[in-house]
Amino acid sequence: MNYPEIKHLAVLRYIKAGDWLTLLSGGVCVVLLTLTLWSGELAEKAVIRSGGKIFRIVALSGDQQIEVPGPLGISLISVVNRKVRIASDPGPRQYCVRQGWLQQAGEIALCLPNQVSVELIGSHKRYDSLNY
């Protein structure tokens, strides 16, 4: 090798002018893809279902507590600061309670034993595996 002093940069000479252009446009593509696909849409409303039917659709603008009746008892859903969680549920395993706060559109918490669910939706509804 004729260029020992810059050996660690020697591979750069294999990148021609057009290659730099390709690299640059590839980088721009990746950044744009990331920005468009990872900009988690903020939720606008929460859809609360009980027994498969829509119980209520609440806006996230105001903080409130909602009691949702199910076959086992009452599930308590709380809306605080544009976030939603299931505060308490009579189900045995408490999966939906332990799921914690939901914030982004598309997130969903299901309390299957009590047949209660809360789903966050944005301005437009995306398809997901539940309604595909």
């Binding site: 021609k16 893809l33 595996s129």
Partner: protein
């Protein structure tokens, strides 16, 4: 490798039927006592070269299988280095042979022939080859293997995502994975292109003696 391979004598390998030699032409130097009792494939030097390159690509695939990956599907794609080199030296048709042989033989080797993983690899390879068919016509003065590699890498993930979405997981949620795959494609595409460019540079300067330039002359 056996001695007969080097001389380009026919072998009993079943499989691909070469179209390059006329049918029924027996080789008098055959090492088999009764050639008629065997199924002989007349292979040319180019066939042997394709097989050798595909074998190298398979070796790289195998090597790559040992590298742990943080996410299934994010792989360096080292075998594509071979495809790039073959494309630059012997043209697109040979690159197609090497790439597809690698996909099919690799799936047999790993035991995932006709499984979803095989179709993912196949679609990625086909998309890459299609894009390479166009990319090879870019002016050589400004565009080298690095560009080819990046385009092929992006085509690879595009092909795979298409199959995943249309067939395996028809769910918009896979869009969340696209930035990860695209980043990996850009990084690994660049690295593979650099390795290919560097290898060809070395081979042209005679540092890598075996294979390389002398074979290139022979094929041409």
């Amino acid at each position: 490798m056996q001695e007969s391979d080097r001389k380009g004598l026919p072998r009993t390998t079943e499989g691909l039927r070469p179209k390059l030699l006329p049918e029924g032409k027996q080789n008098p130097e055959s090492r088999f006592p009764n050639p008629e009792s065997r199924i002989l494939l007349h292979t040319t030097a180019e066939d042997h070269h394709v097989a050798r390159m595909a074998a190298v690509a398979l070796g790289l695939t195998l090597l790559e299988g040992a590298i742990p990956s943080p996410l299934p599907g994010v792989k360096p794609g080292l075998a594509n280095i071979v495809t790039l080199i073959v494309l630059a030296r012997y043209g697109w048709r040979t690159a197609v042979w090497v790439s597809l042989l690698r996909v099919f033989a690799g799936s047999l080797l790993f035991g995932n022939f006709l499984t979803p993983g095989f179709f993912l690899g196949l679609s990625g390879a086909l998309f890459s080859l299609l894009v390479l068919a166009l990319a090879q016509h870019l002016p050589k003065r400004w565009f080298g293997p690095v560009s080819h590699s990046i385009y092929a890498a992006f085509a690879h993930i595009a092909g795979q995502m298409a199959v995943v979405y249309l067939w395996l997981i028809p769910h918009a949620g896979i869009a969340y994975l696209i930035p990860i795959f695209a980043t990996a494609a850009l990084v690994f595409g660049t690295v593979n292109g650099l390795i290919a460019a560097r290898f060809m540079d070395n081979a042209n300067n005679g540092i890598s003696s075996r294979g390389g330039a002398e074979n290139a002359e022979k094929i041409k």
